[in-house]
Symmetry: C2
Subunit: 452 residues, 2 copies
């Protein structure tokens, strides 16, 4: 192969490789999400990356439509790559709910694709970790959704986070009360700009779309409620008074708020937040967003909400539900920034250098005996100088090396070297590999040792 | 939404949804593969589903080229969906090997796409579980590759399987010896047909492409060696005699064969098989295929081999390596047929019916206390009649239900019902949920109980 015909190895703009260090962290969080979702009875599903274009197109926003990867397949069918996991869930639920029954609780951890503007630092392929409960209106599902988010963040190793909760019926009821129900979309669009442009500018914008000052003042009161959760609830109660929709929404919000605390969530982890509406989304009830206390500016790392009817485009069966989604890439970026990401470059902890060239069989016997005792072990594949192999081990980030040369094989001993501290100890195992495993346990799993 | 405008919910031809029962089994095998790969020091990586078309096109066979999903993206770049994980690995290695160093051991578990003919029962989206060791010529890597396959099959729960091993240099050397090296491709194409068309027809075909009868007889002897592994090795030794390439290949094969056994693989699990060449593949050294003893006709469930230079299309750095791949879909089909697939439809084992409508907070407290003790618990979201909830639990396949009504809450007791046997027992927990957990452990984890 000559140089001229060689192809430059590169990834597409907006796409990226995950090297071991990045992928080990990703796998750890995906596995954590799986375990937490499963512990609440959510089952995994998967759907194809490619769907008929008519299933996907026009189901998100104008933006997702524009960003959709679409093409004709070998059979001249128009197809698209999924841009989220909610549209495929709607199609899936319409197709299989008869067989699966309700309530149907599923999780789905998978890649989605969007032809995003990469100048905004966005990727065109990213991973979502969704979970949803379909087919029930019960607030128990709302409570559990918040509990799952709470357990998930804790299990990932984050201590300082706050789950913001609101109920769309409160806002809708208030707009109804102010006879602004018809203008809800425009009003919400103005309200959404509050954090960016400030109170006066929002009120001015509302005026230009025909909302009288006394009405916009009342709407803005919602976002200005402050203090403890109980105070906010009292304030909401006053605003909701006289409108049954808002009162009902508030009653549900209180029920959810109490239920979540009964289940063991510290009150400080929850925030009743009348300002979150999740914009022009399809949510109709509870809405939640999750912020990291030490990194609020990155936005919500786990968001979701309740919807009235998931799959109306595909079936006449009414399927209400609630769900949320962990943004894996945003979460990983946050962990990195907060220095909470353990740097692991090798999934096996133990390294066995291979330097007594005539002893291949003894090395193979040793490494496999250790693996059978549950240890992840990498053996260097070529007989080289010990020094260069230990350099490799340091670079790769192994925790520990088991060093055995000709003398050690003859004496049935080995050196166990802690590569983090640099300390070595001799182990006289007399041919019993479990004695080496005992030393590894003391070194690498001190918490599992019986206390004396 | 009226019926006329509704979209029929369906997947594309050759694509499919994975419902919970299927997906739980898939996740279990993927997790098993991850654990086994990691225990040998292989690290996870991921690459984009989409690559520049020039990276993918012309890298497999004419067939993969034809089957490639290709299109122009939003920036009018020609792109394609990966059709395997080897071409992306070659591109990845060329790009990152400087940073990562060698030996580089990676695994990659991901979907690939091929516009296959679905009439053959093939899918257009399927999952591969690859692992490779790059940057070493040492036979230690070959030995470990076979060990990984062996551990993987065992860990999946298969007892009766045989790993067939051969070395391409033996065949190449023999052809060289017979002065047929130039015709290797045609000869191999004929030889590959042996299981289908039989010995005489192969010899006749070889004759038509110009291979003299005495030469084809000698080639066919290779495939006809039988008996114990040691006998086959002796037979190969005779055939290889006088050609250094074949002798070298045989020496390596013997070294690998011995090393694998030293590491603890039972001799019956291994088969020296001079007939496997993996056709016109890019393999140049060791080749392996794995057959299930009770289901040989489905073909190899785990195949791989050694190659001289992985990434020559993308870099001047010579990267020899060896790897293998578990075909997840074929393996799952086999487990199903062999009745080795545990039917699990819910990932949480414990079901808590919610039927004392006023006791929501008590149910929430109970279920979350059990989750904190490590149990997967699903609580029914709506207060319904106990009978209909237990029917739901049976249908979903929970192992056990914890039944608590008003009376039980007042008395601090509960009924723990084994849904598999139908037997119930009363537990007087006195408010200490760990007593319920003890009963669950006796019921669902008898193996973890201390023997009396």
């Amino acid at each position: 192969m000559n140089k001229a015909t060689r192809i430059s190895p590169r990834t597409l703009k907006g796409f990226r490789d995950h090297l071991p260090e990045s992928m080990i962290a990703r796998e750890r969080i995906m596995e954590t999400a799986r375990q937490v979702y499963r512990s609440f009875g959510f089952s995994p599903i998967d759907t194809p990356a490619l769907e008929y274009l008519e299933i996907l197109a026009g189901k998100g926003s104008e933006e997702t439509d524009r960003q959709l990867y679409r093409f004709q397949d070998h059979g001249k069918r128009w197809v698209g790559l999924r841009f989220d996991l909610t549209v495929p869930l709607a199609r899936f639920a319409a197709q299989h709910v008869g067989e699966l029954g309700t309530p149907f609780k599923r999780y789905h951890i998978a890649s989605v694709w969007r032809g995003e503007n990469t100048q905004l630092g966005r990727y065109r392929e990213f991973m979502q970790c969704d979970f949803d409960t379909i087919g029930t209106l019960s607030t128990v599902a709302d409570i559990e959704t918040i509990l799952v988010v709470h357990e998930l963040l804790q299990a990932i190793g984050i201590e300082r986070f706050t789950i913001h909760v609101n109920h769309r019926q409160i806002l809708n009821g208030l707009l109804e009360k102010l006879e602004l129900a018809e203008q809800a979309t425009v009003v919400l669009r103005c309200l959404d700009k509050l954090p960016k442009i400030g109170r006066d500018a929002v009120q001015e914008e509302m005026r230009t779309v025909g909302v009288a000052a006394e009405k916009s003042t009342e709407i803005l009161q919602l976002s200005e409620l402050s203090g403890e959760n109980e105070e906010i609830l009292r304030g909401l109660s006053k605003l909701a008074q006289g409108n049954s929709r808002a009162e009902e929404g508030l009653a549900k919000l209180e029920e959810i708020f109490q239920g979540v605390q009964v289940a063991g969530v510290a009150p400080g982890r929850l925030r009743i937040d009348p300002s979150i509406a999740r914009g022009l989304d399809y949510y109709t009830g509870t809405v939640i967003e999750t912020f990291l206390d030490d990194l609020p500016r990155i936005g919500s790392v786990c968001s979701g909400g309740r919807y009235d009817n998931l799959a109306e485009l595909y079936t006449s069966q009414v399927l209400p539900g609630i769900g949320a989604s962990l943004g894996l890439d945003r979460m990983l970026a946050a962990l990195e920034e907060l220095n909470l990401l353990e740097k692991v470059r090798t999934p096996a902890e133990v390294f066995v250098p291979f330097f007594a060239a005539d002893r291949l069989h003894d090395y193979l016997h040793l490494t496999n005996a250790l693996r059978r005792l549950g240890w992840g072990v990498e053996m260097y594949p070529e007989p080289r100088k010990l020094g260069s192999q230990l350099k490799y081990a340091d670079r790769r980030g192994f925790a520990c090396a088991i060093i055995v040369g000709e003398d050690e094989f003859q004496a049935s001993t080995c050196q166990v070297k802690d590569l983090r501290s640099g300390e070595s100890q001799e182990v006289r195992h007399g041919g019993d590999v479990s004695r080496i495993a005992d030393v590894l346990r003391t070194l690498l799993r001190p918490e599992s040792m019986p206390s004396v």
